[in-house]
């Protein structure tokens, strides 16, 4: 597989990778919107959801996208136009940057570099910038409040997320996402390797903290004050309509998908199956068909994690801004520090 890619010219390789990146962002985003936002939410709320466009409303999303694209590109009179226009693109670009390090199979990756975890956590906070300037440039008081809340919240929850991942990094001994996947699937639990060693078992506290931080990072309920439809009327997105809102919308769900992908790599074993099942020993001995099956496994795990995110989103009320900050600084961060300490001690002990 890798040989096949290496045999084509560099520009074609790059084009393939870009197309792959677009598919890897948009396909999960569309699936998440249909399966969870349209259907699961409707079933939870004892209604059917969209039923007209396509079988069981499965083409509803295309209808919605068409509607958004047809709308006029409106901006407020006193808005800072240039910044107002690029803000959604910045938010979405953070998603594309994030997906670049996600490995989907033994050879199916966009980039594979050593500081993958570090890079992922770093670019995930680019979206804060987009949200903040969207709130500022809208020249709207609600947007401004939403943008400020978003900035405070996203920065506060960046920290527990990083600290939760450190436990995984310590246990795997690498910051390369591909190596973390291999370490989990090649590992064993007290000598039994039938399940590999997915870090959700040993790093359960880290997993929970990570998922809570993801929930906050995505500004999903119960951490959705920056959007807060009933008080801030959608916060920083208030003034956006048409395709700029569409970009925010795609960004929201694509980021949910990509964060779920990263969580599945860090805690659920990523694209791999336990190596013992097929007698593999290292990454080089993996059969080529894993490059096709791997993405499917990733996709399944992603849907599972997004299901949890959305389940919480549709059933909880939202926190208040100060309660959220208190929760981050007084509960999550100390807990993740304890987790890091316990992991280090156990790592040295075993």
């Amino acid at each position: 597989m890798l040989g096949l890619i290496a045999s084509i010219p560099y520009w074609a390789q790059s084009l393939l990778r870009v197309l792959g990146g677009i598919v890897a962002v948009l396909l999960p985003a569309g699936t998440i919107v249909y399966v969870f936002l349209f259907k699961m939410m409707s079933f939870m709320q004892s209604r059917l959801g969209p039923m007209e466009a396509g079988p069981f409303g499965s083409l509803q999303l295309f209808a919605e996208v068409g509607k958004w694209l047809q709308k006029e590109d409106l901006y407020p009179e006193r808005a800072d136009r240039f910044i107002f226009k690029i803000a959604p693109l910045i938010v979405l670009s953070s998603t594309f940057l994030l997906v670049a390090v996600v490995p989907f199979g033994p050879d199916a990756w966009f980039t594979n570099f050593e500081a993958g975890v570090f890079y992922a956590l770093a670019v995930s906070s680019v979206s804060v910038l987009g949200i903040l300037i969207a709130g500022w440039a809208s020249a709207n008081k609600y947007s401004l409040l939403g943008g400020l809340r978003a900035a405070g919240q996203l920065i506060a929850y960046e920290l527990p997320m990083v600290l939760a991942v450190i436990g995984v990094v310590i246990q795997a001994g690498t910051m390369n996402l591909q190596q973390i996947v291999v370490a989990q699937n090649a590992g064993s639990i007290f000598g039994w390797d039938g399940l590999g060693n997915p870090y959700i078992l040993t790093q359960f506290v880290g997993f929970v903290i990570f998922m809570i931080a993801v929930q906050a990072e995505l500004t999903q309920t119960p951490f959705d004050m920056p959007i807060a439809e009933s008080e801030l009327v959608s916060g920083y997105m208030t003034e956006y309509s048409g395709f700029r809102f569409l970009i925010f919308f795609i960004g929201e769900f694509a980021t949910a998908g990509v964060f779920a992908l990263i969580a599945s790599i860090l805690f659920l074993g990523g694209w791999g199956v336990p190596f013992a099942w097929f007698g593999w020993t290292s990454i080089d001995s993996i059969d080529n068909w894993m490059n096709v099956v791997g993405p499917l496994i990733m996709f399944t795990k992603m849907m599972l994690l997004v299901f949890i995110i959305m389940w919480v989103r549709f059933s909880y009320p939202r926190f208040r801004e100060d309660q959220l900050q208190r929760f981050a600084w007084k509960v999550l961060i100390p807990l993740s520090l304890v987790n890091i300490m316990a992991t280090s001690v156990l790592k040295v002990a075993f």
Binding site: Q45, R47, Y316, P317, F319
Partner: protein, 390 residues
């Protein structure tokens, strides 16, 4: 000693100066935020003018009148039976309850009383409109606090109650069923059994909401201790309904006054809560929906037979006089002061609606709270715009 004292004093002055400098540097400009007239949290077109410092409210003031429809004036050019069609629309979620006090006032002026069966059915429909009204509040409460699912349960289950009201009166939202001297019709066949089934459903709905919202830690964190109204303040501002009972005042017009209605014929409980915060107000409403289902069931058990209409003249002329009748509506005390000059229609009607008095406490209550708490407090005070502006 003096040296040390001086030094301490100097240090103190220096620290004060530093604080002052920091304060000057950090001095922020306030921001006036218009919440409404078009805002999802205002249930219509209420406007709250809030002066903010960051996210903290310095002062806030409700500005109402965006939906004023002039009902008090309109009643003067209607005949007595026509007025019910108007006043149905005051609190549009619990329409039947609006008709009752007006009809009672007219009956009081004419010196007639509805037959027992009519009184019973009036009370049942009154409680059904309370259930329909407050169950929607319970769902909407979730939306205000960010939980989007409960409101759909509320809409789903309220529909059963609205079907009952429609079955009995013909009007889903605006029954216009109450007549001077009784009711337009008797109950249709099979209605009583269906009502019993729906009351069981509504109790299940209450359990569901209790589990979804009231048992939720985030909900408690958002409502407990927020918007506390002490007992004396609640009395001073003339609050009524669950807002008053949530402050620990045991006051319910259904029990505390003698009216030709059926509430005093059965046993039921008036719920109060000592805390006076948003949680208490919401909790009281939940308990009241549950209590109303029991009231309806007990009234159905003891429903007397007989006519539903007293003997009234074909053309209703209300004798000269003045009457004040108030009842405990879903939103609180709702009363009509009816002045008649012996003609076909009223000379003057003063409508005392609960929400108008209930939101008068908003400036006092919103002082110093944070923006998200504005929403919690407004939601827990539970007003309906039609009831404020009339």
């Amino acid at each position: 000693m003096t040296m040390l004292g001086d030094r301490q004093q100097l240090a103190y002055i220096a620290s004060q100066a530093a604080d002052a400098r920091v304060n000057v540097e950090l001095e922020t400009e306030g921001m006036t935020l218009n919440i409404g007239p078009q805002h999802p949290a205002t249930h219509g077109t209420l406007r709250i003018i809030a002066r903010l410092d960051g996210e903290q409210v310095l002062w806030a003031e409700p500005s109402c009148g965006y939906m004023h429809r002039g009902y008090e004036k309109l009643t003067e050019v209607r005949t007595f039976p026509q007025v019910t069609a108007l006043i149905n629309r005051i609190d549009w979620l619990g329409s039947f309850a609006n008709e009752v006090p007006f009809i009672l006032a007219a009956e009081q002026l004419m010196g007639i009383e509805a037959p027992p069966r009519a009184q019973w059915i009036r009370t049942i429909l009154f409680e059904l409109s309370r259930i329909a009204n407050v169950s929607l509040f319970l769902g909407d409460l979730g939306v205000q606090l960010g939980a989007i699912t409960p409101v759909f349960f509320a809409f789903r289950d309220r529909e059963y109650v609205l079907n009952l009201i429609e079955g009995a009166t013909g009007g889903r939202f605006h029954p216009n069923f109450d007549r001077i001297g009784g009711l337009k019709d008797d109950l249709p066949a099979g209605w009583i059994d269906e009502t019993r089934a729906v009351m069981r459903k509504m109790r299940k709905f209450c359990d569901e909401i209790e589990g979804l919202l009231f048992g939720n830690e985030i909900f408690e964190a958002r409502t407990r201790g927020i918007g506390v109204i002490p007992r004396d303040v609640a009395l001073q501002y003339g609050l009524s309904g669950a807002n008053l009972r949530g402050s620990g005042v045991d006051w319910d017009l259904r029990r505390d006054q003698k009216l030709p209605m059926a509430w005093d014929k059965i046993d039921w409980k008036v719920w109060t809560h000592p805390d006076g915060d948003s949680y208490a107000r919401c909790w009281i409403r939940l308990q009241e929906v549950r209590e109303s289902t029991f009231i309806v069931e007990k009234l159905l058990d003891s429903l007397p037979s007989g006519p539903v209409m007293a003997k009234v003249p074909r053309i209703i002329k209300v004798p000269e006089g003045e009457a004040w009748v108030a009842t405990e509506n879903p939103l609180g005390e709702m009363g009509y002061y009816v002045v008649s000059k012996g003609e076909l229609g009223p000379f003057r009607v003063k409508i005392r609606s609960a929400s108008f008095n209930n939101i008068s406490i908003v400036p006092w209550l919103l002082k110093g709270v944070y923006v998200p708490d504005i929403i919690t407090i407004l939601a827990s005070l539970y007003f309906i715009l039609g009831d404020i502006d009339r």
